[in-house]
């Protein structure tokens, strides 16, 4: 068919046409017009231009070019035949379905399509093969064939048929089913017909081989219809099957195919073909099981085997008649706890016979219990268990099942005496799943075993073990559990051999029908976390979530940024130590438990390793502290050893002029004083000692300084614990009286580098309002002169005790509180006087000794001493005034000597007025 290219939009510039204003006139035509080309062949097309176009557009064959679709054909495939014709050749055509156009180039630049044909490539049909026909009874004949290779072209298949005397109408295969066709005339049996197929497309026509046959040899009969399945009361192993089948059996011989199965079976049993090779309408099937429902089906075909089997008939079923039970029931017992003495509660239990052994409906069971040399007890039970109370003797139990036809053989069970010792267990007990059942295998004992009892139950933490059981013959050593076992449950299986005299020792094993991954993983936690290691612990998974045998655990741990590390741990462990951890790092750890079928992760647990190991801090801190203490101690010792040097540079002794007085030098100082001194300081460290002797006269009162000392002691009793004098606060002895005797003052002056003056505020003792402010503090470190203070002191004294005419002329500011309590004994007093002129260092040593001596005394006793001294001071009363006046004189002299270089020695000594003798 030529293809005219037209301009649908009348566009003069369209490349596919030439627009003439009114009509579309092809400028050329292509030969050949046929466009179907065989695959692999060469194809040549010739485009012939019309003279008018050539004249109008000034073109020749040289201006022709070809396109397939919109793709230009290479010029190498062109051939200019003459002025008007150009050809193009396509060698070895491949699969194609494209538009081939002849184009011209006008005026050297305008391209136009002037004609086109569609090229379709394909293959001629192959000779159809394997032509066969089938005649479904009551329907028309259908034939089918193999069309061969793909032609890529529209190919028509026609089924032709004829008799010797006439031809039938063609049967044209439909497009969607080009490989079969059903004729439209009814089949005529016993008349040979010849059939063949013609396949035709644009590239050719081919005919299949002719087949000649009698349609009856291609028939597929309708399936027989089973009328009945009848049992026989006389014979419980047969069923008679009757049916109707095709009317063809009047004309041809048929053969049958009969199959049967029990109702619950899936596989069919076959009646021997030779028994059903002739036309018939009934058949008796033998060797069937009693009281069993069988299902039958039947099909038929021509006896000579020509044609096809019919479809299977609809299934029909029948039940064979009953027979006596063919086997004794499985029989076992269980001893239940009994409270009665001398008896046992025995539960006898047995299994219902399966239908193929019951051979009918079991009406009841008969149980007989026989004690040794005793009469029997008979029971008729409809249930499958019987509980009886038996003595502790040995019993023999028998069991029979009864149906409509008769009784089964007896099943015998020996119930041993209570003291029977079970022995001879089986060995090598194994349990394993296979083919979706749980197999149990064991090695039989050497003794002859009557039978085996297999018991099993599901192990669970939530429910008790409720056993199921089954019985196996004594020859069996491998069987499977015939219960409704479920997957992922742990079964505890017990195998007990049964001997003539009773049961043997049972053996146990655990098994799974099918394992699965655990339902959940173990929960891991830390037991102990160290700097570089952590001890993990976990609990075994409960049996209900294990779903299988836990083969191993895997611990996964990682840091926040690190890779995960897995460690496999044996399933028997519940603890594992992770080592080589990094200190002060957060770790995430989880644990998976694995069965044979997979694993399950537990929850993730995090822990942080400490920065230091246990004891590491102590190992650092303790030495550091010790070193610090040692250093401090060394420093203290150093300071102590070098205290003179330190004192000299930092804390020079400043004598308190106010405490200076003019000692009464006695030229007749008995030498015993020195002896006494020697006794006190036997080491002879004293050098340049000035001794002030105070003459002790019984008639004369104490010197003035001692009087003043006594007065202070009185005040001290009143202000004890409330003074905050310089010595008290600075020397951590605030709770002690800050008043000391004169010798203390002097010693304090000798050991203090600075002298501070303060006002001692009498706040009262124990909520007693102080009567007067005795001292006022001054921040000045300038030593006060007695002359500067005296007027105020006098005034204060007047205010304090106006009735008392005796006023202390001197107030001692305690600078060194190392001596809080002044011993009133004379020896002490004398020693103090001697110390005033000795070496300062020795004096400090002496003071410390005194301190230590004094501290060793009970504090209370010291106080008591002071209180006891008060009357003694009072007793000196008449001589005090004179002493005071003498002190005043000394004080006046100090004031006069103010312009002299300061010395802390008594001025009299420095001036040489009074030199010790």
């Amino acid at each position: 068919m030529p293809t005219l290219i037209v301009c649908e939009d009348a566009n003069p510039n369209s490349p596919d046409c030439i627009y003439t204003g009114e009509l579309i006139v092809p400028c050329a035509h292509i030969h050949p017009e046929s466009s179907v080309v065989q695959l692999g062949s060469n194809f040549t097309a010739v485009c012939v231009l019309k003279e008018k176009c050539m004249d109008d557009y000034h073109v020749t064959a040289n201006d022709i070019f070809w396109k397939t679709g919109r793709v230009p054909v290479p010029y190498e495939q062109y051939s200019v035949i003459n002025r008007t014709a150009s050809s193009v050749t396509f060698p070895n055509i491949t699969l194609i379905n494209a538009l081939l156009t002849c184009n011209i180039r006008m005026f050297g630049q305008i391209n136009r399509s002037v004609y086109g044909i569609r090229i379709i490539s394909g293959l001629p049909p192959e000779k159809p093969k394997n032509l066969s026909c089938i005649v479904n009874e009551g329907k028309k004949m259908m034939c089918q064939w193999d069309p061969g290779r793909e032609t890529y072209l529209e190919t028509n298949y026609t089924l032709k048929s004829e008799w010797a005397t006439e031809k039938f109408d063609d049967c044209k295969a439909k497009r969607d089913t080009p490989t079969s066709c059903t004729v439209d005339y009814p089949p005529v049996y016993f008349v040979n017909i010849e059939v063949w197929v013609e396949a035709e497309n644009a590239l050719g026509k081919v005919t299949s081989d002719h087949i000649n046959f009698d349609p009856v040899d291609k028939v597929k009969l309708n399936p027989p219809h089973i009328l009945s399945v009848n049992s026989s009361k006389e014979l419980s192993s047969i069923l008679k099957l009757t049916w109707t089948d095709s009317r063809f059996k009047s004309f041809i011989t048929l053969k049958y195919d009969i199959q049967y199965r029990t109702k619950d079976a899936s596989t069919w049993n076959q009646v021997p073909p030779e028994d059903t090779s002739s036309t018939r309408s009934s058949f008796t099937v033998q060797d069937l099981k009693p009281f069993t429902e069988y299902v039958f089906r039947i099909r038929c075909m021509k006896e000579d085997g020509k044609g096809y089997w019919s479809d299977w008939s609809e299934e029909a079923s029948g039940i064979t008649y009953e027979d006596r039970p063919s086997k004794a029931p499985n029989f076992w017992y269980k001893i239940e706890p009994s409270h009665a003495h001398g008896t046992r509660s025995i539960q006898l239990k047995w299994k219902t016979l399966p239908p193929f052994e019951a051979n009918g409906k079991i009406l009841d069971y008969e149980v007989t219990l026989t004690k040794w040399k005793s009469h029997s007890q008979n029971y008729t039970v409809k249930d499958t268990k019987l509980t009886v109370n038996l003595t502790n003797d040995r019993y023999v139990a028998t069991l029979t099942a009864r149906n409509l036809v008769g009784k089964s053989d007896a099943s015998v069970l020996t119930i041993p005496a209570w003291d029977f010792q079970a022995t001879h267990p089986i060995t090598d007990l194994k349990a394993f799943p296979k083919d979706n059942v749980l197999w149990v295998e064991w090695t039989a004992p050497n003794e002859s075993v009557n039978r085996y009892i297999l018991e099993w139950c599901v192990l669970s933490d939530k429910s008790p073990c409720i056993p199921d059981w089954q019985q196996e013959d004594g020859t069996v050593h491998r069987t499977y559990l015939r219960g409704n076992l479920v997957e992922s449950k742990c079964y505890l299986i017990t195998v007990t051999p049964v001997y003539d005299d009773g049961p043997g020792s049972p053996k146990h094993i655990k098994a799974y029908l099918k394992q699965a991954a655990p339902s959940r993983g173990p929960t891991v936690r830390t037991k102990k976390v160290g700097k570089n290691e952590a001890v993990l612990e976990w609990d075994h998974l409960p049996i209900d979530v294990q779903n299988g045998f836990i083969r191993n655990y895997t611990i996964f741990y990682r840091t926040v940024i690190g890779n995960e590390i897995a460690v496999n741990v044996d399933s028997s462990h519940t603890e594992y130590t992770l080592s080589s951890l990094t200190s002060d790092t957060l770790y995430m750890v989880r644990m998976a438990a694995y069965t044979d079928e997979g694993g399950k992760d537990g929850p993730e647990f995090t822990f942080t390793t400490p920065k230091f190991a246990q004891g590491e801090i102590e190992a650092i801190v303790v030495p550091v502290c010790l070193a610090f203490l040692l250093t401090t101690l060394l420093g203290v010792l150093f300071c102590f050893n070098k205290r003179d040097l330190i004192k000299k540079h930092i804390w020079p002794n400043v004598p308190d002029p106010s405490k200076s007085h003019i000692a009464q030098w006695s030229p007749h100082t008995p030498p015993r004083h020195f002896n006494s001194k020697d006794q006190m300081y036997p080491d002879g460290n004293f050098t340049d000692v000035s001794v002030v002797e105070i003459e002790a006269n019984d008639k004369k009162p104490f010197p003035e300084d001692l009087k003043s000392l006594d007065l202070f002691k009185k005040e001290k009793v009143n202000t004890e614990g409330h003074s905050s004098g310089i010595g008290g606060s600075s020397c951590m002895s605030s709770s002690r009286p800050s008043i000391s005797s004169s010798d203390e003052n002097e010693s304090a002056q000798n050991t203090s580098s600075t002298v501070q003056y303060s006002t001692v505020v009498h706040s009262g003792y124990r909520h007693q309002v102080p009567s007067v402010q005795v001292f006022s503090r001054s921040e000045s470190t300038q030593p006060l002169l007695d002359s500067e203070e005296r007027p105020e002191d006098l005034q204060l004294v007047d205010n304090v005790d106006g009735s008392d005419g005796i006023l202390p002329r001197q107030r001692y500011f305690k600078q060194n509180c190392s001596q809080h309590e002044t011993s009133p004994d004379i020896s002490h007093f004398e020693r103090s006087q001697q110390v005033s002129s000795v070496n300062e260092e020795d004096f400090v040593r002496l003071k410390q000794q005194q301190i230590s001596d004094h501290i060793s005394q009970p504090y209370g006793s010291g106080k008591m001493k002071m209180f006891q001294e008060v009357p003694a001071v009072d007793a000196f009363g008449p001589g005090i005034e004179g002493q005071v006046e003498r002190f005043e004189t000394v004080g006046m002299e100090d004031a006069v000597d103010e312009g002299m270089p300061k010395s802390y020695l008594p001025q009299t000594v420095r001036r040489g007025g009074y030199m010790p003798q």
Partner: protein
Amino acid sequence: MGAQRMQRTLLSLVLRLLLLCTVATGKCSGKYHELLLQLQRQADLMQDPSTLLDPYIHLQGLHSPVLQEHCRERPGDFPSEDALWRLSRQDFLQTLNTTLGLILRMLSALQQDLPEAAHQQAEMNVRGFGNNIHCMAQLLRGSSDPKAAEPTQPGPGPTPLPPTPPSSTFQRKLRNCGFLRGYHRFMRTAGQVLRGWGERQGRSRRHSPCRALKRGARRTQPFPEIRRLAPRGQPPGSLWGAPAR
């Protein structure tokens, strides 16, 4: 030399005989027994009243016993059994051919009175039977079966003619019913005759067609009666040559 030539001739004849016994003649089966068996079974199939008479009675409401009493074959519609038995094979085949033509005409007339499937199947069966008769005749024609050339008995009696139109519809139904009953009876008789062919063939195997072929075939015009019996308005030979509808 003469003996050798004779032996060669005999060998050639035997080979030709064997070849002729197995080679099909056109689309027909070349096996006599097979063809005969087909004819017998066809006859058995067609004699079954359930294929044609019963559907007709059921469709026309003639299934009451009283009416069925009147549904009887009219004498003369079909050749009698005795007549058929007396015919030679060729004549028997010719008679069958003639009768089948008559049946086809009748079936054509009964097209509206029969279930379409039953009518179509019956017509195809008749045509197929005629095809086998043709094949058997062709096969016999190529043989020198003495039985095939035994026109010793007179013809089957009056030439069966299409039944004349009855006066009333009911009468026509009864007439057609009787005709169909006769048809089935005729086919049963034909089957018996054909079975007789097989029995006689078994008893005298010397008269087998293949052996007769060695003596040369007697050329006979196959079923000229069919043309003679062709219904008016139907071109001769259309019984066998018309394409199936």
